[in-house]
Symmetry: C2
Subunit: 714 residues, 2 copies
């Protein structure tokens, strides 16, 4: 099984990535793509002869494809390129190259050469409230590269190269527009640049590494889809050279809502972005190094866990998009759903919550408000005749797809009349708003916001109650009525849409039931907050929490020592997300209060996990990976990460199979590093039996692994 | 050899095409592409049962690919689509479908169904001088489709469908933004729409033709990359339904010069374009029908010639781009070089001249002025020591590539130190400016412009003289000195860059020599015009014309009865563009004056053509196609068209091989209709021996065939 993986290197909120890392593969700069771009990346070095002039062959990192047909063939037809004259660069074997992925950096080294990419991040405040200087630092659509060589022991000069090829069209030299950048751009949209004082020469041609390539009076060929900058390190010197990689999309980029990239308010074009990047290179490098050190200092995590966090974080940033709503004149936060590019899919928002609360809590608030203002609705329920069908508030699955916002109250995903993938997720998204909003409000102590959302919290509580049963006395603590948005013949599903029915069906579902329990526990806290002081609702919520706890407890199977996944039809699947809902009270620090009230629930959930985490049940019998469902090969890394975190923090005393610990981490990391999965950077849905990528590629959601960073003081 | 071909259907100046026609292939809407887009086009019909409800299978034109994997697989992983439930549409065999390509229309018919595309054009005035209404009609980035069915004999209703699939991302329903359009768009960039009153229903899904496709409350699935509108024709009715296909690129789209599409001054977005298209459908259809009739009325042309003109014109429009220079606040005309996308390649401009003088003469002027203002330069010549090397004015090969304008005085194509493809074209472009500007001024009688260009005409004459020899007494009538832009080791080439040396080398080249002769003859006329009244220069030009004529005559080989292609090294290649230069005096109506002065030249050129146009020389021995050079299989359809026109108009008495006439036209049309060439719409460079596309695909230049329309009164 070949190993190697792509990693996305992405600015904050630019929906853009420089993707690189899978040996013998293309990647490079991509804007709004569903997967890696298709550019060659040229980075490497060559040693010059001792006279410092003629050079040996280039040694290049293996991030390009060797062309089958010379690029000139398209123009010259009858002219054959003289193969003997091709001083072909040597593509380094992946095995010769050391790679180290940090939280905000990625470095490849070969002999004295190295290429490092920095995609730093830090805590930000709301774009509306930041100073322009701070905003430019935080939101510049740029990432940093650095090529370096330690030639202190060398006897002759070396040349270093950084460039791109196989571009969608021809590069333009930045020097045609500005004097303080040397590098190349594709139109006004993307490009790379170095400092003129660093650059020995620059290359552009149909094939830059062919010594006989045609060039013009300044050594360039503007028809060239390959372009690079070349640096020089004299014998006895050690040098590193910054390169900035910038993106720029001007004007309105969305439909449905009228929005532009926020960075267009800070930078007037690609050149400004690149100038900023080079000027701030040291700042960005230091910020990246600080993040790298922070991850390394999490000594309670093994190397596999640290790698998973690093890789997941990189892919998260690649899906982020900070827009400015031109109509409402305010920031508009979007996380795109990886390869699917759906906008702010709510069942991803809830999972990104923990990471975003640390780094950009304003983004959580922004999305929650848009869900209330534009993407909430009121429904009826599919109840039997004679029962009041009024449902209540809920929220749609997503806000659209590919920068196309849907109409108010509608998603791009949800369909009618079906019972599987693409059905409605009304219960789940209602719970998601409660958990997301409750966690935001309680964690940030944003009291004004809490007060402003009073009516929504109450509406949510009402809606949640009615989905148990419209008739109060008939409430059992379980959600059992589907939205009429399903149609009479459809059924609600959960975020686990493409897993088997054990997690797919929403009604009477263990995962949903525990998550609803958690939602009620949050509502108790929210209503009890001084700003709301809704004591009646707090009492109602308390009763509902207790009811939910009892209802779940009653479903425990004493014979197997586990819960069934669905409380219907004799289902005997076992699922690890049984405990997922506990992540919210755990995060907010009141899980012990709940355990004190509902000891039996916690005991039984612990027992469930202990019994499920065995080989052949929820540990894959072949690979040892965690399986979310005992009856599906399809496992989701984002959700494994939550289950692991809850297990370790809420059930630390549990004696689970040792294979479920560090050995499983190693299995998980290794899977993501296989080429078949790693070609898509971070992948969420993996067939963990046969090791295949099933979907959710190039995906942000696995940033749930950031929760592990909080485990240091267990 | 499989037959079939794509045709570009393009608005005026939008650098966009709806490409369709090659059986079992994708095409569809493409913006700024180097070849056809990659969308499925769904167009067809199904007969309903006599109850008017349930329907049989769809019959679709063969302009899509049947999917190997259902689109839903990307989302659902473990869910297998039930193959048995797929009510798969029937893809019509190409043989069952009648196709008729007109000058501005394209129609496919099957039984009572037809799909027609209209891409009309008419004569336009300068964008600056047109009324807004006229400009909107002329420059709207929209083309028209029409689906129709004659159900007068039918016993039950039929449904008609028009849609697209395999889009780069998901469609958005236009009805979300406006009430008077039903259709779909991709972002803000492109889309199709019908009138709400015409549309029975609309489809959007992962797979619109699968009856079990998931859809939402309004019957759409917004995650669908397939979308369509459905019309209904009752039994006894005959109906046709217009569909508009629009493009829109907002904001600045270029680098180097800062320019936007001119249509953005006329329409505020895609929806406005589509509303306009539907409102003006009848106007556009009538305009297209008038063009079709005009071509058909050219009864002196056989059906193959008419088809070649029609197909060539379609590809020409696809490369046109009408911009607005935001800095200079004026129109900026661009023709992109087909698959190469170079901007205003001068050796294409000169060939588009005749078409553009008929339909948009202001565009010729616009480009000529930009060549003077930004893309002219002065050079030195590679002369022997002791000779004054001063050259003079000339012009670069192109203005950049892919909306990236080069620096003043520089092209994207031309390199130094080489003798083949990508070398300098200084002599040729100097001649091109003279011929293009002279023809424009004399044909349009634009006296103010002629006066304004006085200095440039004089500078061109001086430059042309010096390229014969800097020392007046040493002038022989042939251009023999390369520009120092070649470097000391390079050599100038001609537009025939990728043909063999018989046409590639500029010095002492038969093609260039006759074209220079023509240029001098134009300069005689220009300087003699009353506005300039440069009698000294007119006399100088007259002498130079005579000198050029004598020089060419002296190179005639009496043994072969032909000219050599290059007057050096015993070259014995034979070339048909020997007479290309005569197109200008012929077009301007003074070729008989020249024949009277230089009878021997005309006689010998005629003899040359008569002898060259024989099988095995310049008629391909295998296929019968015209070969531009006896020593190359690579022949260019744009240049064949000019040679044919000059032969028929300047040498009508010539008795050439009958195979060079209508049989060759049939060969040429048939070649362009083979799938291997026709997949790229119109192709210029064809290996006419083996029938392969060598380059210059999706190419505008073959619009030279428009010259044939002028042959009616021979």
């Amino acid at each position: 099984m070949p190993f190697g993986y792509h990693t996305q290197h992405s600015p904050f909120g630019a929906f853009a990535s420089f993707t690189i890392g899978l040996p013998q593969s293309r990647g490079g700069m991509g804007q709004s793509l569903s997967g890696p771009a298709d550019q060659d990346v040229f980075a490497g070095y060559r040693r010059l002869e001792s006279d410092g002039l003629a050079g040996g062959n280039w040694n290049l990192l293996p991030f390009y494809k060797e062309p089958e047909v010379p690029a000139a063939a398209a123009y010259t037809s009858e002219f054959a390129e003289d193969e003997a004259d091709m001083d072909t660069p040597r593509m380094l074997d992946a095995e010769e190259v050391q790679r180290e992925l940090g939280w905000a950096s990625d470095r490849w080294s070969h002999a004295e050469f190295s290429l490092t990419l920095y995609s730093p991040f830090g805590r930000t405040e709301s774009p509306e409230s930041m100073s322009e200087d701070a905003a430019r630092l935080a939101f510049a659509p740029v990432i940093q590269a650095e090529v370096s060589f330690d030639n202190r022991e060398g006897k002759a000069a070396v040349e270093l190269v950084f460039g791109l090829g196989h571009a969608a069209y021809q590069f333009r030299p930045l020097e045609d527009e500005v004097t303080d950048l040397v590098g190349f751009a594709l139109g006004r949209e993307m490009g790379f640049a170095a400092r003129p004082s660093d650059v020995e020469r620059r290359l552009q041609a149909l094939s830059i590494f062919y010594p006989k390539a045609c060039t013009d009076h300044r050594g360039l060929h503007l028809l060239g889809p390959e372009a690079a900058v070349v640096f020089r390190v004299e014998a006895g010197e050690q040098k590193r050279f910054p390169v900035s990689l910038g993106f720029y999309q001007s004007g309105v980029v969305s439909a449905g809502l009228t929005a532009s990239y926020f960075y267009t308010k800070l930078f007037d074009g690609l050149e400004s972005v690149l100038q900023h990047g080079l000027a701030q290179h040291a700042h960005y490098r230091e910020q990246a190094e600080a993040r790298d050190a922070q991850l390394k200092s999490a000594t309670w995590l093994n190397a596999d866990q640290q790698w998973l966090i690093a890789q997941a974080t990189h892919s998260y940033w690649g899906s982020t998009e900070l827009l400015w709503d031109e109509s409402r004149n305010e920031a508009l936060w979007v996380v795109n759903e990886g390869e699917y590019r759906m906008i702010n899919t709510f069942d991803l928002t809830i999972d990104h919550l923990f990471f975003e609360l640390e780094w950009q809590p304003w983004a959580v608030k922004n999305t929650l408000e848009l869900f209330v203002q534009r993407y909430s609705f009121e429904d009826n329920l599919n109840v039997s005749e004679g029962v009041d069908p009024t449902g209540g508030i809920s929220f749609v699955h997503d806000m659209g797809v590919m920068d196309q916002f849907t109409l108010p109250g509608r998603s791009s995903y949800e369909c009618m009349h079906i019972t599987g993938c693409f059905s409605q997720m009304t219960m789940e998204q209602l719970i998601n708003w409660i958990c997301c909003a409750g966690t935001y409000a309680l964690a940030t102590k944003d009291k004004a916001w809490l007060e402003a959302q009073r009516a929504t919290f109450i509406a949510c509580a009402q809606s949640l109650l009615r989905r148990d049963h419209p008739v109060p006395v008939k409430r059992t603590g379980l959600l059992k009525f589907d939205s009429d948005r399903c149609g009479p013949d459809g059924a609600e599903i959960t975020t686990y849409d493409s897993l088997d029915v054990s997690l797919g069906q929403a009604r009477n579902n263990l995962y949903i039931s525990v998550k609803a329990y958690a939602a009620w526990s949050l509502l108790e806290k929210v209503f009890a907050e001084a700003q709301l002081d809704e004591s009646d609702w707090a009492a109602e919520a308390q009763a509902a929490t207790d009811r939910a706890a009892s209802a779940v407890v009653s479903k425990f199977e004493s014979d197997s020592g586990m819960f069934p996944a669905v409380f219907e039809d004799g289902n005997r699947s076992r699922i690890l997300p049984a405990i997922e809902g506990l992540v919210f009270p755990s995060y907010l620090g009141f899980v012990e209060e709940l355990r004190a009230r509902h000891g039996e629930l916690f005991d039984k959930l612990g027992l469930h996990m202990q019994n499920a985490l065995k080989s052949g049940i929820c540990l894959d019998a072949r690979t040892g990976a965690w399986k979310l469902s005992s009856t599906s090969k399809n496992s989701w890394f984002s959700k494994i990460a939550i289950a692991q975190h809850v297990l370790r923090t809420v059930f630390p005393e549990l004696e689970v199979d040792v294979e479920a610990g560090a050995p499983a981490d190693a299995v998980h990391a290794r899977m993501q590093k296989t080429a078949i999965i790693g070609q898509y950077a971070m992948v969420d849905q993996v067939n963990v039996t046969d090791v295949l990528s099933l979907g959710s590629r190039y995906y942000p959601r696995i940033v749930t692994s950031f929760l592990w960073m909080r485990e240091g003081n267990i």
